[in-house]
């Protein structure tokens, strides 16, 4: 019985979700942690305004698995290296200043990574191009970023799908996709209705940075963004929050399903700051582990994470699936 439960949970981890079950060597798909058995790992962000909240312990977290309270075995922060895939829009609407700002922002993020972090680069217009597979040789990514140019339509969903497949949740690193786009998908094979499910099943944390104002046709240029968007962004920034004013609702929901956050910029010049904020947030995330108790293994597990005796907004994947 115990062996069966182990296999089920590990299978869920291998197939799915950022709720990652751990280390069952018998499972064909790679186990996620080697340090413990029958555990689910939850990658959680806690923020207050735009700032990550540090210093929390297991006593500050309440975890429910299908409504059943769980005992948090451990909490760690900033320990596991990142396995980061940058999925960057290089479609024609970014020609000119936006692509230059994007390249500079992404290069800034790569330079700020730690030596043991892995990073890869996938660019997309209508064609998806694996520029650099995830590697610790960060200079390769910096160099590839310098060669990016903008042209063509936008296959955002297909690119995100490919990016999620290329950072599978195996080993000790934390699998993360950082997506950047400025517009509506105009070229993907994948239907919009499928995106959220793909992200849910991937086991990868998804963050996105979106450049507002150019969805639909035409290129975004400074000054071309509507005053409403600029004003909404200004107000959001004044509140210390740049999340949740996206033009793309389906992207918002995908990010939510991926337990990550969506940063929105009104102008290309804001990208560098937002990429830096995103990396800070990645570093400040907590990894909670727990051993599921009192819940049946098969099926969808809705997981709720709340704070006790602490204030902040919690971002985490909404659950995991055990086939």
């Amino acid at each position: 019985m115990a062996a069966r439960a182990r296999a089920s949970i590990a299978s869920a981890a291998a197939v799915l979700m950022g709720w990652l079950a751990v280390d069952v060597p018998a499972v064909a798909q790679a186990p996620l942690f080697r340090s413990s058995v029958e555990q689910v790992r939850v990658d959680v962000s806690v923020t207050r305004g735009a700032d990550p909240v540090a210093g929390l312990t297991a006593a500050h977290f309440e975890v429910l698995d299908n409504g059943v309270p769980q005992v948090v075995d451990g909490v760690s922060q900033e320990q596991a290296p990142l396995n980061l895939m940058l999925v960057l829009d290089s479609s024609g609407s970014l020609a000119g200043d936006p692509i230059a700002a994007l390249v500079a922002a992404a290069q800034g993020l790569v330079r700020a990574l730690r030596p043991d972090d892995r990073v890869g680069l996938l660019s997309f217009s209508q064609r998806i191009t694996l520029q650099v597979a995830p590697t610790v040789h960060h200079a390769d990514v910096l160099s590839a970023l310098g060669r990016l140019s903008a042209s063509g339509p936008t296959a955002l969903r297909d690119a995100l799908f490919a990016g999620l497949q290329l950072v599978p949740p195996d080993g000790d690193a934390r699998p993360i996709v950082m997506l950047f786009s400025d517009g509506r998908d105009t070229a993907s094979w994948m239907a919009a209705t499928e995106l959220e499910g793909v992200v849910r099943r991937s086991g990868v944390v998804l963050h996105a940075v979106e450049l507002l104002g150019s969805s639909g046709t035409g290129a975004l240029r400074p000054g071309a963004v509507s005053n409403d968007v600029v004003e909404a962004t200004r107000r959001a920034r004044a509140r210390g929050r740049l999340v949740g004013i996206s033009e793309s609702r389906s992207l918002s929901r995908a990010v939510q399903a991926g337990g990550g956050r969506l940063w929105s910029a009104a102008l290309p010049g804001q990208l560098a700051e937002l990429f830096a904020e995103a990396l800070d947030e990645l570093r400040a995330r907590y990894l909670l582990t727990y051993t599921p108790q009192g819940v049946a293994a098969p099926g969808w597990h809705e997981v709720t994470v709340r704070l006790k005796d602490a204030r902040g907004d919690v971002h985490a994947r909404p659950g995991y699936f055990v086939p």
Binding site: V15, Q126, Q165, A187, E194, R201, S248
Partner: protein
Amino acid sequence: MRLPLLLVHALVTCSAVSVAAQDGAVLLSVYRDAVRTYQATQTLDPARPLVGAWTRDEFETVTAAEARAGDRERIEAAAVFHLEIALGMAPSTPDGAMLHVRLGERLVGALAAGARGLFGRWYGVAASVFLAQSDTVRARQVLGRGLAAAPDSATLHLLTGAVEEIEAQRFEPDVAQDSAGSQAALLRNARTENEGTVRLTFAEDAYRRALAIDPDLVGARVRLGRVLFLRRRVADARATLERARADAVALQDRYLARLFLAELSASSSDTDAARRLLDEARAMAPDRQSAWLALAQLEERHGRPERARALVVEGLSRSASALVDEWWHYRNGWLDREGLAWLRARVHR
């Protein structure tokens, strides 16, 4: 001795007319040289310095003169010459491209009604110059004028359907808005979905007109099949796509027919058939990215993430230098290369 004022005026006027006529003749001569150079070299490069700095008025003057002259061969060559210029300008200066399309239209318009076959080809290429840039607005304008000149052109009806279909996809409702649950969002999505459905109806009509004129136009049948699928008429879609697959000769038709049939099979839970069709598509065009991604997505959806990952890795590798994918053309428009080749062959010397 003073000349009477009337005589002075008459002399000045005659002189101006003479200079203008002379200038016009020189311009026309240079223009004809440019077109002949294009015909002989089969490229615009050597002809460009001859007319590259011309104003709109100068082009208007010479095309009007050429149209009046009525030499069929010269007119056809000049009309294709302007198409080539438009093709080069469309990505960066669409207004300039449209000017040259209009100049070309003036020329083909001077041909006899018996040249309708040429009209269809010429307007099809002219519209696709814009369609290849996903510029459905200008493509639609050209198609409207083309269908007025050649209403029985199956190609123009097919392209009209493509314009409608591409625009329909821009009205894809934002699925997450539905879940947001606000009444305004639901209404907005309903309006958007309705607009998309209307466009698909127009596309279906256009494809059916194309097939009524030319039942062998497989490209129209492939696209009709997908429109029927999008409109949830699955049985009609399957029959249409199966016939298209059987009739298809050109790679683009064979490839898209399989892609669309695979999509239909997957939606009907016939995963094995979908896999088989996507395997066929990959085999016939291994450097096209879309079939690899479609199969990877199918596998991932059915709980085979390792297989999906392998397909993504190999698909991205094989398509790394591909410039063409029929799915891209279908989604965002394409240049009618076959029509352009036909026109070039007709005028090159």
